[in-house]
């Protein structure tokens, strides 16, 4: 992985003035009577790979949406480096350094791969509409600088050949990868991945696992992962939170969670006997 993105890691590794990178405190969220989240708390530290698992409809995606401030919880607080995110708009959470991928791919289908990634750079760019429309020196310089960063990401994800294709035309697996790239382009400190390997075959899952581990190890970006592929989660997560019906039922290392009877009952089921 090359230059520009690594630089940022160095910048990030200075002394810290906060306790946790992200802290979710006793969040409650309900929609017209449906309790999606009922008192969840957890925290993610710098460079950590934290996973949230739980049955369908347990409120995992909703938690992501709360962190992004797409949903406004009725109760509770979300703190980013010690500062509350409550009341911000989603785009402001992005500016703070929270990036995300989506359960159902949410790329910009009519834009090319490069354009999608450059849109990820949006928060890190300054060009105003006036400067942009006349393509003045600074605007032009900024465009080209950011294009270089985007090319780095393209290299990293090995999607060179798709660069100029509208992403809507790409195969599912590649789209998932581009989505990861777009999130990386935001130069985040926390990367939230919502089921990054759903619908992927083993080979693609392996690729994706490698990318996630690289992101964590080499770029030092903290990862918040939601995934139903237990093989993957148990192998790569540092800590795991299990939720059911919006409530936390277990938290701890993969081993401890895996053998928790509540988790087995609500989520894992008795091991699938491999023939």
């Amino acid at each position: 992985m090359s230059g520009k993105l690594l630089q940022r890691r160095a910048e990030r590794s200075g002394p810290k003035s906060y306790e946790h990178l992200l802290e979710v405190k006793d969040v409650h969220l309900a929609f017209k009577g449906v309790k999606a989240i009922a008192g969840v708390s957890f925290h993610v530290d710098d460079g950590e790979l934290f996973a949230i698992i739980g049955p369908n409809g347990a409120g995992k995606t909703s938690l992501f949406n709360v962190v992004n401030q797409v949903y406004e919880p009725q109760q509770g607080d979300v703190r980013w480096k010690g500062e509350s995110l409550m009341g911000l708009k989603p785009n402001q959470t992005a500016e703070r350094g929270i990036a995300r991928t989506f359960q159902n791919i949410a790329l910009f289908p009519h834009m090319t791969v490069i354009e999608n990634l450059l849109t990820g750079r949006h928060v890190r760019m300054r060009t105003s509409w006036l400067a942009g429309s006349v393509w003045l020196g600074k605007a032009k310089r900024e465009e080209i600088e950011n294009r270089e960063i985007v090319e780095d990401i393209i290299d990293f994800l090995e999607i060179e050949q798709w660069r100029k294709y509208p992403v809507g035309l790409l195969p599912y697996g590649i789209q998932k990868r581009v989505e990861l790239g777009r999130a990386l382009a935001m130069d985040p400190e926390l990367l939230m991945l919502d089921e990054p390997v759903a619908g992927m075959n083993l080979e693609e899952t392996e690729d994706m696992a490698r990318f996630i581990l690289d992101v964590q190890d080499e770029l030092g970006i903290a990862v918040l992962l939601v995934e139903h592929d237990m093989g993957l989660v148990m192998d790569i997560a540092d800590r795991i939170l299990v939720v059911d019906f919006g409530k936390p039922i277990a938290e701890g290392t993969p081993q401890s969670v895996q053998h928790n009877p509540n988790v087995v009952k609500a989520y894992l089921g008795e091991e699938v006997e491999t023939v």
């Binding site: 929609f31 449906v34 698992i53 739980g54 049955p55 369908n56 409809g57 347990a58 995992k60 995606t61 909703s62 359960q103 159902n104 195969p171 599912y172 697996g173 089921e195 759903a198 619908g199 992927m200 075959n201 083993l202 080979e203 693609e204 899952t205 392996e206 690729d207 696992a209 490698r210 581990l213 690289d214 139903h228 237990m230 093989g231 993957l232 192998d235 790569i236 609500a266 989520y267 894992l268 089921g269 699938v272 006997e273 491999t274 023939v275």
Partner: protein, 263 residues
């Protein structure tokens, strides 16, 4: 019951995606169709159900027959009426309709009020979570709940042949097991099943027969026992070391990929 013979499909008049696929779903059996990403599994499904045209695709060769009748050129609604029902890839619930209305839409070809009622009861017992959320707008359901709805909707037709395209996508492990049990149960009630899956472990554990597709061709077929013994299947679909134990994803960073399918 269903026989696909030597099927060729072309998208946009240029992209040849299926190159002579043949497969068969015998009456009352579960058949698994496995394959890598982009192998053409969904395309095969579309050819069987007649939904290629929306994707600018076309069957250029081959024949599909169902219950002895050739259906290659038939309108999709006629095929549904014949008893072919499908769970489409990627959930595809009607997001602005309620769970209940989605199920009613699924029962479109089922004009027998009593049977519709029975079918609904069955779906509700299979997926209690849906029963709770009957009046909820489908678009607001969680990913997994939508997947349940998609399966439930397909069951509303009371089909003779049920085709499922990645039904386990996005489902929690426990639910994957449940869906597996449901498929077995439906099958025991007399419905033939064609199961398209990425989750080979799950699919092969219940199938009577399996096909493996790569880049538009069937590269291997046989009963599960035979497939499970194959080295390539073990490595690429089950993620097992040659020794038989599960690989760790932590290792992939240093893991070198082997050339596949020498055949």
């Amino acid at each position: 019951m269903l026989a696909v013979e030597n099927l060729e499909v072309v998208y946009n008049d240029v992209v040849l995606v299926l190159r002579g696929v043949s497969l068969e779903v015998p009456d009352g059996k579960i058949v698994a169709l496995l394959g890598t990403d982009g192998a053409g599994k969904t395309t095969t499904l579309r050819a069987i159900t007649g939904l290629l045209d929306i994707h600018e695709g076309e069957v250029t060769k081959g024949e599909i027959s169902f219950d002895g009748a050739t259906i290659t050129e038939e309108d999709p609604s006629t095929r549904v009426r014949r008893g072919i029902s499908q769970v489409m890839e990627g959930r595809r619930v009607f997001v602005e309709m309620t769970v209940e209305e989605n199920l009613r839409a699924g029962a479109h070809t089922n004009r027998d009020g009593e049977r519709v009622k029975e079918a609904r009861e069955r779906v509700m017992t299979l997926f209690p979570r849906l029963a709770d959320r009957r009046q909820a707008t489908a678009g607001y359901l969680s990913g997994g709940e939508q997947q349940m709805l998609a399966i439930g909707r397909a069951l509303m037709q009371d089909p003779k042949l049920l085709i499922l395209d990645e039904p386990s996508l996005g489902l929690a492990p426990l639910l994957v097991q449940e869906v597996r049990d449901i498929i077995v149960e439906i099958n025991q009630q007399g419905t033939s099943v064609l199961l398209i899956e990425q989750n080979a472990k799950m699919a092969l554990s219940i199938a009577d027969y399996g096909y493996i597709m790569e880049t538009g061709k069937v590269v291997m077929d046989g009963d599960p026992a035979k497939l499970l013994k194959d080295e390539d299947v073990k490595e690429f679909y089950l993620g097992l070391h040659a020794t038989g134990e599960q690989k760790s994803f932590r290792d992939v960073k240093h893991y070198k990929r082997r050339k596949r399918w020498l055949s």
